[in-house]
Each structure stands twice: as C-alpha cells, then as structure tokens.
C-alpha cells in the first residue's frame, strides 16, 4: 500500500502557544484514519497544518510523495485535498446549490462537475430536496451533509473531516457515520477523520491515532484500540 499522506514530526505555534510538539501520522491510499484526543490536544491544528491554513514551525508534510507544507491554503485543494472544517462553516447566505458549486471552484470541466453534482445529490437525497434553500435555514444535520457534499465536489483524493458529529443529534450522527463509510467505499477516497465521538470514529476507521497535548500518545488498528484499556478508560467510557 502506498502512502497518500505523511506528516513528519511537525511543530506548530499560535503566538506563544505550543500546539503541536512533533507529530507524525500517515494515511494510506483508500484508508480511513481516525484522529482522537482531548479538547485542545491539537487535532484541528494538524488538519490546519495539512491544508496550509497555519504554517508549521518545523517538520514536513508529504502528499503523494511531494512536499506539501508551504503550499498556500487555496492551492492545497487543487492538489486533491478537501477539508470539512470544524463547525461546518457553510456559506450561510448561499443556496445549497451555490454551496455545492463552490466546492468545485477549482475545477473547470463543466460536464464533469455536473456529473459529480449528480453523484453528491444521489448520495444525499436530502440536498436534492433542499436544492434552492438558503443554507442557514437548514438544520445542523442537513448542513453537515451539505458541507461534506461540498467537499466531495472537488473530487478529492484525500478528505479531511473535523468533528462532523459536533452538536448533531444521535440519530443524525449515525446517518453521517454511514455516509462516511459509503464515501470511503464508493469513491476510493482516503479519509482522515477527527472526532471527539471516539466510539463512532473507531468503529468506522481502519486505523487511529490518539493525540494528547500536542503529541501522539497511542496509535494502531482501530479494532484493537477499541479494546485497549487505556482508550476505553479515556475515550469510550463504559455503558451505552
């Protein structure tokens, strides 16, 4: 298996806050990797480093064997990396349609964009129903579907998801989890999934990393981690 992404020993600062202290992770072609960890552990920061929203202080990031760090955010998506940011960040005053079309901003092939659009609408029939509705009038769950769809519009090879279950009702969380599984299966996209809902994240991923205050504490096969006592204690809890 070839690595699509490898993050090597990166460090990242916010002013004087030391957010990532030498983190390395990698994602294989076609694989779903989960990233779990406490609040403020630095999960989002890793995604920001990958997408170029924040510069890394040291370390390197490789994507398909090529150096990625230093690429400006607006060019990262051109290389095939899409991100669904924390807190959804839909374009609130735009219609579902325009939101989705924004996802294809870097593409120029009209016909193929149509095709992708069709695929996305088929995958999320809810969006077809709400095609002309303004985004901010939709429920949180619908918006989450929409921004995932928006990310897919770029036809990414690597999809980064930052806490897609945040603030979403349990029933919808299940829907989203199913959608992620299906996307990985159908589109052959590699996925890096950041989640607080560790149970969900571990159950739909191949591998996982647990992050603790800016460095990797544990990593391994998701199924194994699910049964790991340390993970159980810290991230999963007992009942339900």
């Amino acid at each position: 298996m070839t690595k699509i992404l490898s993050v090597e020993n990166i460090e990242l600062y916010y002013d004087h806050i030391y957010a990532l202290k030498g983190v390395s992770i990698d994602v294989d072609e076609g694989e779903t990797v989960a990233l779990i960890g406490a609040n403020g552990a630095g999960k989002s920061s890793i995604l920001r480093a990958i997408t170029g929203l924040r510069p890394v202080k040291s370390g390197q990031i490789f994507y398909q064997g090529q150096r990625l760090d230093g690429t400006p955010a607006s060019d990262v998506v051109r290389k095939g990396i899409s991100m669904v940011p924390e807190g959804r960040r839909a374009f609130p005053l735009m219609s579902v349609k325009d939101n989705l079309l924004m996802g294809a901003f870097t593409r120029t092939d009209k016909a193929e964009i149509e095709q992708t659009l069709e695929n996305v609408l088929t995958r999320f029939p809810r969006l077809r129903e709400r095609y002309h509705q303004q985004a901010n009038t939709m429920s949180g769950g619908e918006q989450q579907m929409m921004v995932i769809g928006r990310a897919l519009m770029a036809r990414p090879k690597l999809l980064l998801l930052d806490e897609p279950s945040l603030g979403i009702a349990p029933k919808l969380v299940q829907d989203i989890a199913r959608a992620i599984v299906a996307i990985s299966r159908d589109e052959k996209v590699s996925i890096l999934l950041v989640e607080q809902n560790s149970r969900m994240a571990l159950s739909i991923s191949n591998r996982a990393y647990a992050l603790s205050t800016g460095s990797i504490a544990l990593s391994g096969n998701s199924r194994d981690l699910m049964n790991d006592d340390r993970i159980k204690a810290a991230y999963l809890g007992g009942e339900l």
Binding site: N39, S139, P170, A177, V181, Q196, S198, M200, L236, G237
Partner: protein, 260 residues
C-alpha cells in the same frame, strides 16, 4: 421537593416559523433536568425564553411563583436565573480571572458612582469579588490558566470559563447549553462531576441541553424531549431511553453495519 421554575404553555414564533410551540413543564428545586431533541427542535430558543433574552409570543415562565417572562434579561439574571451560551461566550480580551471578577457584578453593593469614586464599600466589594473569583478558579480547577487571555484558551477551557462566569453570578438556576459538546469521554465525565458538585455543594438547580446521550443519561434526574418545538416526552432517563417516540425522532436505533 418544591418547584422552582414553571414553564407554562410557552410559544415562540419567528415570522411564519414556530420555534417553540406550547411547551409546559416544571423544574424542581435542586434537580438536574436535561432538554434533548433533534437539531432545530427549539431547545436553545426555549432557554432564551426562560432567561428572557427573547420575548415569548405567548405563555409565561414563573420563578418561585413569580412571573419573569417579560423582565429584562439582566433583571432575570439578578433574580438568579442565569444562562450560558451554546457557542462558548466569554469576554475575549480579558484574562480568565478578569472574566470571573467582572461577572460578580450582580453581587456588588456599591453603586456605579461609588465605584467611580472608589468608596470604602466599593473597595470591599472588589476585595470580595477577587476572593470569590479565586474560589471559583479553585473549584473548577482552572488555577493553571487563571492569567491567560480568554481568547487563547482551547475549547474545553472556554467551556469551563463559561461555567465559571455563570457561577460568579451566584445563580439559583443555571441554564447550560451543550456544555459537553466537543469534549471526549474523559473530559465529559469530569464536567459531569462538576455539574453534580454544583448542585450538591452549591444547591444550584441545573437545566441543560445536550446531544451527548451517555452523559445526559448519567447526569439527569429527569429529561424533557422536544421535537418540532413541541414537548414529545418527559420522564426519567430510563423512561426516555425506552420511549418509542423519542427513539424514532431522536435517538435512532443501533446500527450493526457501523458498529454503533
């Protein structure tokens, strides 16, 4: 057990949309009551109505038998019904300690003019606030970040700070909107412990909105479930967990395919 809050037939319309529709329930003194329901069901709106941040279209809220629905929000807060926000809301360019100190405002006995002149009363107040703020910092375990600028805090700490701000007002009823969102199990359980202590040690009645079911089931004395603005069910965690309507509308069933 006595009733501290009564929500009576409360309704809120935004234009054509009815966000909260004829909801009634009582809250007992010293209990922890959770409000659950799908996204957009009207939970946050309900909290805004209780704290009088938005005026109700009809219906009313009674606090200790007294009507509070049409009072200004600061008056409701003054009576002891205090709300924290869904999006973590803090004073961004103040330090943690400053945030907490300023939030003691309700407890001040000196007038604004007194503060301006720096009267003895004002100085006593300030000293008392500072001491109480340190208390709260200790209570919530925020010692390490007491002098950090709030805008530099991570999510988890922001929430704790939000709670601290709420505490500083010395509330009788506190409304927490999604206090566990974005926390992992470990942190959630710490927070659950805190909320419990809040009730046990300080006698505060707690209302909370949350999507994290394990936490809700663990912490709540009673649960109210809302759907499309209307009350769907009310009961103990056990009753709610088994309520078909709630499962149908909100909880969903376990899915073997994704192992949940």
């Amino acid at each position: 057990m006595s009733t501290i809050l009564q929500i009576k037939n409360i309704t809120k319309r935004y234009g054509g949309l009815t966000a909260v529709n004829d909801v009634s329930f009582d809250v007992n003194k010293g209990e922890i009551l959770s409000v659950i329901g799908p996204n957009g069901a009207g939970k946050s709106t309900l909290f805004k109505l209780i704290s009088s941040f938005v005026p109700a279209t009809s219906g009313e809220v009674l606090f200790n038998g007294e009507r509070i629905s049409s009072l200004a929000p600061h008056k409701v807060a003054r009576m002891g019904v205090v709300r924290t926000f869904q999006e973590t809301t803090i004073f961004r360019s103040m330090t943690v300690r400053e945030n907490i100190i300023v939030s003691h405002h309700l407890r001040s006995r000196a007038s604004l003019f007194g503060f301006f002149l720096g009267t003895k009363q004002a100085k006593d107040d300030e000293a008392a606030f500072a001491a109480s703020a340190d208390d709260i910092v200790d209570f919530l375990g925020l010692q390490a970040i007491r002098n950090e600028l709030a805008s530099n805090l991570p999510q988890g700490h922001l929430r704790a700070l939000g709670m601290a701000i709420g505490l500083a007002t010395d509330p009788k009823v506190i409304l927490l909107d999604e206090p566990f969102a974005g926390m992992n199990h470990d942190e959630t359980m710490k927070m659950v412990g805190l909320v419990r202590r809040l009730r046990d040690e300080r006698g505060v009645t707690v209302l909370l909105v949350e999507h994290d079911m394990p936490a809700v089931m663990k912490i709540s004395d009673r649960i109210v479930c809302i759907n499309f603005g209307q009350k769907l069910a009310e009961g103990t965690p056990q009753e709610i967990r088994e309520n078909e309507k709630v499962i149908e509308a909100y909880l969903g069933s376990e899915d073997a395919a994704i192992g949940m």
